[in-house]
Each structure stands twice: as structure tokens, then as C-alpha cells.
Symmetry: C2
Subunit: 550 residues, 2 copies
Amino acid sequence: MLAFVTLSVLLAVTPTLAVWPVPRQYSTGATPLRLSPSFYISIKGLNSPPQDLQAAVTRTTTYLRNDKLQALVPDRGASSANAVRGAKALDSLSVSLTSTAKVRSISEEAVDDIEARVEGYTLTIPSDGSAATLTANSTLGLFRGLTTFGQLWYDLDGSTYTLQAPFNIVDSPAYPYRGLMLDTARNYFPVADIKRTLDAMSWINTLHWHVVDAQSFPLVVPGFTELSSTGAYSASQVYSTADVQDIVSYAAARGINVMAEIDTPGHTSVIARSHPEHIACFEASPWTQFANEPPAGQLRLASASTTNFTTSLLKAAAALFPSKTFSTGGDELNANCYNKDAATQADLAAQKKTLNQALDTFTQAIHKGLRDVGKRAVVWEEMVIDHPVTLANDTIALVWISSANAATVAQKGFKFIHAASDYFYLDCGGGGWVGQNPNGNSWCDPFKTWQKSYSFNPTANLTEAQKKLVLGGQHLLWTEQAGPTNLDSIVWPRAASAAEVFWSGPGGDIGKALPRLHDVSFRFVQRGVRAIPLQPLWCALRPGKCDLNA
Amino acid sequence: MLAFVTLSVLLAVTPTLAVWPVPRQYSTGATPLRLSPSFYISIKGLNSPPQDLQAAVTRTTTYLRNDKLQALVPDRGASSANAVRGAKALDSLSVSLTSTAKVRSISEEAVDDIEARVEGYTLTIPSDGSAATLTANSTLGLFRGLTTFGQLWYDLDGSTYTLQAPFNIVDSPAYPYRGLMLDTARNYFPVADIKRTLDAMSWINTLHWHVVDAQSFPLVVPGFTELSSTGAYSASQVYSTADVQDIVSYAAARGINVMAEIDTPGHTSVIARSHPEHIACFEASPWTQFANEPPAGQLRLASASTTNFTTSLLKAAAALFPSKTFSTGGDELNANCYNKDAATQADLAAQKKTLNQALDTFTQAIHKGLRDVGKRAVVWEEMVIDHPVTLANDTIALVWISSANAATVAQKGFKFIHAASDYFYLDCGGGGWVGQNPNGNSWCDPFKTWQKSYSFNPTANLTEAQKKLVLGGQHLLWTEQAGPTNLDSIVWPRAASAAEVFWSGPGGDIGKALPRLHDVSFRFVQRGVRAIPLQPLWCALRPGKCDLNA
């Protein structure tokens, strides 16, 4: 505990560390240090280090060589030329697991259940040129430490340097879940776009992949290939089993779990193309009476046949992903769709069940199916708040309609993920997509700024006991008006904002965060991610000068 | 006149033409037609056609070959395969000037004064495979016709086809000015980004280039190179004279005039880096008291030396551009900056002038300087509405603060360009850029949707006589939060919206426009412009199905 106290004291007097997310405990100095031209990263104490750890080391070395990011100061570092020239050279970073740690790959650890992940690390960089050291209790922690190490350096005429040595960083996340949701059903994203997003997500540990929806079914599910062959936008706009394995392994090697979602029983219109028998109110008109978005269509949840089909589909889809969690959705259920569906009405009458009773039976069945194959269910908040559905205690709820609903979910006793539209929806405020909508603004105006999500308090209105139910949070990109052309510019650097709230903890100062977020943007651009500028460059080079009242 | 009547009658019964902007008069049929594999475009009746016209023909042929745009229907055209296979083949498009037309290049005609441009054309494509014809009174008109021709075709398995022959199109713009403003001072854009924007702008005839501002001075002005060498963000973030010539000629060959702006007397802080004697309240703090944006700084308008300097600078800058118009800005003048500036107060006292009288003298001087080199002045609306400044009758005002101010400008008798923030500001609604601004929303929320700008009425609240003062309008991109990474996604296809209002005329139906705007987006992407999707692909393929109440 003494170390932490010391570091906390140092914190008050040391300059801002240009690292995102900001480590939980750190100190920096004021000594220039540069990377030796022969700088290397060595993994110590392991006879055969996991391949993905070796790859992460190689990737970090490549970033260090290729970032070529100039310091965000007016002269871009030129006035530090003498200091950099005269600086001690750092020859190496030594990476090692603590002696008690079990040796597992990053990829194995990344897909551990949410609460079981170990992501902390300790990074020490002396100012005298002696070897830097990175230690952790897990390869996942080592990976997080490498990510931090890779952000500490600037370029000046070919020298890779810092002015802030020595560094002492002791870090671990405030919350175990930091996610990003991507919808690949409204519009399709090639695998390369998803991989580029995963590269940018390195401190976000979950890709919540909303892979299919009413509009298209791009996921090729073994045993259910008719869904994608009839439901994908085209034969090339699919995710084959090889694509999924590629994405999952690419993600896992970067410390990211892919938590897939097949939304049920709503948002399933597209299934009718191959299985019309399972879908009620298929493309019914006017769609506003049958669904929140066109096209309408919901799984016939009162049908035993449809329930079996759905259970088998979910099990087959879940088998594609090593993730311990899998989302069955459950948002925006439309009662009118079922009220007008003769088949559902006949099923309900025969079973003497209400719609909610049928939903309970359906949900229990599909969740049991997932549990049988080792998966923990994730649901949107309505399944906890609005419907009297029996859920296993370990079910995770996604709070999306309003951040105010987190307290309601907590009262029900379920663990949950913050994903509220009023803070974290990346698509809001960019104009509405519904046709013949005169002014065309979006339903969740205004635009959710990075400042807004950065100000989020994950435990607002929660009791001490309820606070333990918060697993973390995430930004979300629904893609009605997004595609490969604007993916990066909508997501980055904004989605980094929530990642810091849930890694470093809430309560950060937006004024102090902005310069570091500029660093994120500029470094991302150097790495091929089309992050946007948050200010005129004049401001980005002069922290605070463009603040209100500066 | 008979031809128009016939076409107008036809209009009511023919399907939507997937062309943007929609021609003023047209008819289409229902006969399939494909381009012959040996299809060519020939320029007739000219011994040596202008080189830029030949280049435009070559470019159109390249687009026709490379666009490979599938029809936006659910089966992407597959069900038309037999019709396409059996279709007559179009061998050629014959392009010619009317016999009375004077032969000038597109580039010469593009930089004619605003009211003098001739952009109409007549395009006829028979359904029987006989040659299509394009005629116009100007090469600029021929270029517009080629742009239309290049949008009529889809791809199906390598065939380039339409299902809507014959076409009879008689077209000319409703307003002579359709612009797009780009700010290259808050953040810098490489020449390649500007050229890509010019390629996408083919029916927008003016790039209003807000090239410098308080934050940076990227324009290399002969005789004033110290401004860019001290004021550009870096030595590489400049527009050299060769760059400007490249941009200007690239634009002109595409029918676009580059109307540059050096904003005065405000927005000039950066000039103090090389000429501190000319700038009042340089980087004064708090900036909110001295400027609408940091950094503060305004030209010392009461100084004869500063007035001479500014006049010479504007003349030298204007000489870089063949445009007949040049903007001297004039927005957001801050009186407090001058009230607190001892030098300005001394000058005013010595001359026994009020600030407004000094502004009048200053403005008359700089405008006379421009007039002496053949340039017509353009100003932001404050110079007409807020300040008692003497302006030449041919001065053009840019209405930006509010569309409601158009009527006020019209009452003063000046021609004007619609550029109002409440309809046409592309940067609104994307979050604010000022630091320490807790929720961080933008000053001109909400986001201006394409539907909003499409609904704009250019002659609202104007008398019949005042209506003649409307030159046209434009979208504008201020780049506090824009750079090369999000230029395309902010601008396209949204900026096409105003272009149609001011070419085709106002009053268009957003429901009918949306499918054509999808075509713009998808065709742009094929041509390398990162336009965004406006709807889920499911909707884009099914016009009307995602309308409210569909």
C-alpha cells in the first residue's frame, strides 16, 4: 500500500501522462530519454512464450518504429532537440510474468468470463537508460502494459523519445467490462474494417458484435446456412466460418473477447426468407405498427417448433465463438405483431398462455440451450424490466433505453453493462434515416459528445450493494447511417472516452483528458485508423488555450 | 416552348430518373438499352476541341467503364438479365456546340462572372441504338451534360445498361451560383483531398475556399511568403503557388470556379507572427472577450499602414485566382479588441474617426484594390447588415448567421448567396470543440440534415424584385472538427442536397429525392469518394419502404 501512497503523492506534481486510458496509479519525471536504435523487447522467464504474446511484442516494436508521432506542442518538439540528443538511451524493455502466474496465452485469457479476467500490470522505466520492466500476473496484463508502453513516445527527426522519464506505473481496470458494440446488419462491414477497429480497441476488451438483425443476416451459421444465403445483402456480404475464426482470433490476440448477439424474438424479419413458418408479421405494413424499424417480423415465440429452431440456431451460432457470454437480445418486442398473427394466437390459445408466459417459456428454453453449451446469457434491459421472464442469476443485462434504468435493473439484482443511448450511442445526432421525415433529425438527438460520455457516473443512484452489479460499459454503433466509409470517423476517438471511464474510473476532468485524447487521435491516424480531429490543430498543440474562459 | 410543354406532360408518367441534380425538363421511357462494348463519345463540328472538353469526354468514358454500379433494387438487377441481353446497343454519344456558340474552353467559361455562366444543355438518347446527342451553347453546358450522361447507367455482369430509354433532357440551372465552402485554416487538407472534393462537385460550380484564418495561414502569397512561413501549421502544410494553380486548373476543367477568401479585418491573428504591427489584441485572454474563436487578433483597420498592407496582400492573393470574385470576409468583428488596443485608439483619435468610420475607410480601400485588379468583392452579411460600410453595387453578400437575414440583405439591394448556418452548416451538431465545455454540444445544434437543406426556400420573404438578388447557395464546412479523415463523410452526400435546390429549383419532394441521393452516394463510393450511407442497405434497395407510415 505504501507504493500506492507514494505514487498518489507524486501524481499531484508530475505533468500529464499522454496515455489513454490514464493508469490508475503512476508517476512521471522530467528527464529526457530516447529509445536506442537497437531497442528491443525481451520476454523473460518463459521457455516458450505464448505465440500471441510474442506477436504483441513484435507489434509494439513496429508501432514504436512506425508511429512517427510528433509531440503535440507548437514547435512539434523542435526546441527539445538538444535534450533529445543528449538523452540517455533505453536499450530494452524486459517483459515477464510474476513467478506465481500460470502461463496462458493472451487469447485464452481474453475469453475468460468477464469477472475472471486479470488485466493489471506494473511498468517501470528508469531515467538512466537501464532496462525498463513490465510485469503482470497474466499475459493479458502484459499486453495492456505493452499498449501503455507504446503510447509514451514521440518522434523528433527520427529519434523516438520522451521528456518524462522515469515512469512508474501500477495499473489495473476499475471495471472488468469495457466494450464496443458494432451492428453489421443494417449495413455490412468487410472483415478488414472490423480488424482495423479491433486494432484500435486495444484497451477495450469486448467487441459486442450485433451481427444480424431484421435487415440482413450476414453470419454463416453451420447447419443454418440458408439464413445467410437468403438473408445476406449479397453472396459476398457474409461472414463465413473462416471469417469469424479470423475475427475471433485476431481479437483474442489483442485481448478482446467477441461477444456475439443474435437478437430474439424481435429483429428477426430476415429469417422469414428461408423459414417463413417461424416469423410473425413478416414485412407487415405500416411497419410503425409492428416494429421500431422496418422491416417488421418476429419469431413466433409461442410455437414449440420455432422455439426449438431458435435454440438450435443460437447453440450453433454460439459455438462459433469462444466467448463465455452470448447475447440473445430481447429488445423492442412488439405485442401488436403477435396480436395480429393468427398462428401465434392459435398457439397461445392451445397452450392457454398469455404472451408474456409464452415469452418466458421461449426465453427459458433458448437460455437453457446456451447454458448447455457453456454460455452465459446477455439480454437487453426490457427482458429484466418490462417482461416477467425467468432469468438465471448470472444473466447480464444491457441498459440501453436510458441511463436512469440502470437503477431499476440493479433493483432486480442482475449484473449489467452500461450502454445507455443518452450517453453512449454513437449514431445519435447525425440525422435520421427514416424516409419522408421532413427535418430528418435522429430519435436520440443530440449527438453524444466524448465529453458527455466522459462525464458518466457508473454508480449514480445505486446502493453500495448494487454498485457491485456494474460490470462496465460501452459505446454502441447502430449502423443505419454508417458503413465502411464513416466507421472510423464516427467511432474514434469518441469511443475511447467510455473506455477510460470504465478502465481508469469515473470522475476524470475533461480539460485534462482532452490533450491525451488528441494524442489518441493523432496516434491512431499514424496507425491507419481514420480518427477525427477534435479541435483546430492550433488548439490541439496548445492545451487549455481553447478552453472556455482561457 | 412546345418542347417544354411536351416534356412536362411526359414527366408525370415516367419513372424517376436516377440523376442528381434532377434535370429541369426531362422524359424517360421503359426500353432497355446498353452501351456497346465499343461505345465512344465523339466531339463533332470542332476542328480542335478544347483540351479540357476532350479530357472531360475521356473522364466520362472512364467512369462509364469503371463505375460498375449495380442498380439499387433488391436483386441488384439480376431479374433484368434477359432484358439487358436483348437490349439494343448504343454505339456513341455525339457531343456538339450549337452553331452560334463561341468556342471557349470549359476552364475559361467556369471562371466567367457568376451571372454570365451558360450551363444549359440538351441530351437525347434514342431507344433504338442510334447515336445519342448532347448539344449546348457552351463547353460548360456540354460538361454538365456529360455529368448527367455518366449517371444514367448501371452494371449487370459487365453490361452497362439502362431500363429507361429513350431519354430526352433539356436542362439548365435555376440559379447561377451553387457552391461549397471549405475551411483549410482550422485544420489543413492536402491537395489530394481538395481534388477529390472537386471531382465530386461536378454540378456545384464554385469552391468557396476559406483558405486562411486566425489559426493558420497555409496560402503562400507571392510577396508575402512570411505569412505562410510563420503562419502555416508546418512547412509541409501549405498551398504553394504551384498547388494553387493545380487546384484552380483542376477545378476549372470540371466547371468549377475557385472563389478564395481572406477574411478581414477579424480572423487574422496569425498575421501577427510575421507582422505584429498590424494586429490588435493578439492572442488576448480570455479569448471570449476578444473573438468568437481563439486565438484573438484583428487587423488594425484604423492604421493607414495596415490598410495598405492588407490591400497589397489581397491583390497579391487574388492574382493567384482567375475568379472574378474574391471574398474579403468581414464576419464577427469584435469591437472590444479595438477598444482595448492603444494603437487603434490613437489612430482613431488622430483621424477623428469612429470605429465604424475607420471600417468604412478600410473596406473601401481594400475593395478598391481588388476592383483595380478586376475583382468583384464578396463579404459576409455583417458588412451589409451591421456596419454602415460603403459597398459597390455589385458586391455580393454571404448570408450565414440566419436564413432570416436574407430578406434584410435583400432590402439593402445587394445580390447574395444563401449560406445560412440554420440550413447549410455541415459542421453543426457534431459536438462542440471548445475545451472545458461539459456537454460539448455545438453552437449551431442540431445537425443539419440533407432533408433540412433540401427543404430550403431561396425566395422566402422576398418581394418579386428582391428574388432577382438571389445568386444561389451553398453548404459550408468549417473545420474545427474536420480533417482529411472525415472530410468526405461530413460533406457527402449531404452537400449534394443544396446543389439540387439551386440547380433544379426548390420545392422537391424528399421522398422522391432519397432514392436518387442513394445513387449519388453509391456512385461516389465507386469513384473513390467516401460518401456515407443514408439508410440501411435494405431501405436503399427498396425506395419508400422505410418511409414513415410505409
